[in-house]
């Protein structure tokens, strides 16, 4: 069963992995990814960022990504937690956990979920810099990272 949460609160990776593993002796591999708020982006100091989302659509978009991962790999447990609201450098932004029988599948599923989340889940970042606030621009490299899962080439 997937765990999908969009929340302002921070998360604890140890607690989330423990919850995924609890009572399931068939899990032999757990891969995880954490995205963090940095203090610099595109050459400017970032004091804070605000993450906006589309309640309802964001959760269903993540659910669709997780379901697609489940069709591609044998990964019975996937957790996605994404924070919204105001975040500062050093803060955690996003957590993806993939758990299953073998490492190859959970590594792939974890990376796939992150790549698709970057291009398909409705979140928008606004950064506070010394020169004022600015919306983060989508990166072409993120589109390319997502496209490679379909064997697409730009």
């Amino acid at each position: 069963m997937p765990t999908i949460r969009v929340q302002e609160a921070d998360f604890d990776i140890a607690a989330e992995i423990a919850a995924v593993r609890a009572g399931d002796p068939k899990i032999g591999a757990v891969a995880s990814f954490i995205g963090l708020c940095r203090d610099v982006n595109d050459g400017e100091q970032v004091a804070a960022m605000t993450l906006e989302h589309y309640p309802g659509m964001t959760e269903s978009a993540i659910r669709a990504i997780v379901e697609e991962a489940g069709q591609r790999w044998k990964v019975p447990h996937i957790t996605v937690i994404h924070r919204v609201g105001t975040l500062r450098p050093l803060d955690q932004i996003v957590l993806v956990i993939a758990a299953g029988g073998h490492r190859g599948e959970v590594f792939a599923a974890c990376e796939f979920v992150m790549d698709y989340l970057k291009t398909r889940a409705p979140f928008w970042k606004k950064e506070q810099t010394a020169r004022g606030a600015r919306w983060v621009e989508a990166r072409r490299s993120d589109d390319e990272a997502a496209a490679r899962w379909n064997g697409e080439t730009e």
């Binding site: 995205g35 993450l51 906006e52 989302h53 589309y54 309802g56 659509m57 269903s60 978009a61 994404h82 932004i93 996003v94 992150m114 989340l117 970057k118 291009t119 398909r120 889940a121 409705p122 979140f123 928008w124 970042k125 606004k126 919306w135 983060v136 621009e137 989508a138 993120d142």
Partner: protein, 84 residues
């Protein structure tokens, strides 16, 4: 009636998070709705048909220009996503 929602830069540029409007008979898809809204002049024209990419969703799913609209739909316009 159609519910239209705006997010992120579009919400700021348009000064509103959403609106409801009656769908004119000649507007049948996302492309038509964008043109209808852009025809209001600024800031609509720049926000919806300017240089920057604009994405759309219909009933919480990503949509294309050719996605057909019907009465009661919830449409959203927003910039390319930047989460993660």
């Amino acid at each position: 009636m159609l519910t239209v929602r705006y997010f992120a830069r579009l919400r700021e540029d348009l000064g509103r998070a959403g609106e409801t409007l009656e769908l004119p008979a000649q507007v049948t898809d996302i492309r038509g709705l964008r043109a209808l809204l852009a025809a209001r002049g600024e800031p609509w024209a720049h926000a919806l048909q300017g240089d920057r990419a604009v994405r759309a969703a219909v009933n919480l799913e990503m949509a294309r220009d050719a996605t057909v609209l019907k009465d009661g739909d919830e449409v959203a316009f927003f910039p390319p996503v930047t989460g993660g």
